[in-house]
Amino acid sequence: MITRYTRDQIAARVARDIPEGAYVNLGIGLPTKVANYLPAEREVFLHSENGLLGMGPAPAPGDEDEDLINAGKQPVTLLAGGAYFHHGDSFAMMRGGHLDICVLGAFQVAANGDLANWHTGAPDAIPAVGGAMDLAIGARQVFVMMDHQTKSGESKIVAACSYPLTGVACVNRIYTDLAVLEVTPDGLRVLEMADGLSFDALQAATAAPLLPN
């Protein structure tokens, strides 16, 4: 009996790897859940690409401010000590290697750390990239959190991405509902597995070679 990690458990697991004092960008969607699991006593600087450091939680109903939003354009707050800055500076923080960690969702991650998360490549899709490519190559460590497999059961961890790339060899860790994997020069190393899952079963669910821890 395999007990898959829930999305909240994945978020909590990612949060455990974010240390006090880290400058962190949480991508749009699933990664925003990570903020719910950062303990109140641990000071972490959340960065938002539209020009915020020290981003706080959502405001109370009625306290929303249209000039204070996050990258997903949802209302947020600013913590005491937070700062505003323009887009040039905001992306210098990414590209310049000043962010310690970013957490992103993904369509696919390859064994060498290639990331595909911006475009399905479908011919009729309207492309939109936003800050995905800047985040992918900018932060010192890139964490991906995603389901291990697609709804139809195909591995999202692959030998080579079939979706258009967001960044080359940029992912450091992958957190899924089945495992925590580290991208190493030798390949994907298994750090943790869901309860009841064997290495062989994890390998069978993964379309790239895995290394035992």
Partner: protein
């Protein structure tokens, strides 16, 4: 006496001609200069190239400019959103050209234009579709892509306060693209909530010095 204060929104945008490249500040609706955009729609300029992070939200501001059929091309990072229906329809009908740029490259291309930089090598986008056909270079073991500056004829931006010399301060995250677009355009027009007297803005906190701003206009009379 130097006075960059325009008497009205209509005066402020009167000389934007057909075919102009116009930067429009804002990230979604935060910082979008909607009063200036409405004045531009009224003014009637067509065949515009617009530079913005997005491609309009809902039915107002930039979305209304698109819906009015005034935009030939848009340079942006994130056009497709839940409420980008006007852009989506134009794009699918082949009625608008899209130049998609990663957001940090968009910001730096704008900044480069304002800073007199002829191009720059960035790691963002290397090895992706958005770098296809572009010059690349290996520098100290890392791959970079050559990106070019984006110059504009006009920038329309929103600030909180401005004075008659064009000095500006912004409000919260509505600052976003305003300061760099002000630098990149030949003529920058700032809509402000308040016009204040010279000296009222603390020089220690002025974000955009007036050298980058040609016109200031109060957003509502």
């Amino acid at each position: 006496m130097i006075d960059k204060i325009s008497p009205s929104l209509q005066h402020a945008v009167a000389d934007i001609r057909d075919g102009a490249t116009v930067m429009i500040g804002g990230f979604g609706n935060a910082g979008m200069p909607s009063a200036l955009i409405d004045a531009l729609i009224g003014q009637g300029a067509r065949e515009l190239t617009i530079v913005n992070n997005n491609a309009g939200n809902g039915d107002t501001g930039l979305a209304a400019l698109l819906a009015a059929g005034r935009v030939r091309k848009i340079i942006c990072s994130f056009p497709r959103q839940a409420d980008s229906h006007h852009f989506d329809a134009l794009y699918r009908a082949g009625k608008i050209e899209l130049e998609l740029t990663p957001q940090g490259n968009l910001a730096e291309r704008i900044r480069a234009a304002g800073a007199g930089i002829g191009g720059f090598f960035t790691p963002t986008g290397y090895g992706t579709q958005l770098a296809e056909g572009k010059e690349t270079r290996l520098i100290d073991g890392r791959h970079y892509v050559l990106e070019s500056p984006i110059h504009a004829d006009f920038a329309l931006i929103k600030a909180l306060r401005g004075d008659r010399w064009g000095n500006l301060v912004y409000r919260k995250a509505a600052r976003n693209f305003g300061p760099i677009m002000a630098m990149a355009a030949r003529t920058t027009i700032a809509q402000v909530r308040d016009v204040v007297a010279l000296g009222e803005l603390d020089p220690e906190v002025i974000i955009t010095p007036g050298i980058f701003v040609q016109r200031v206009v109060k957003e509502a009379a």
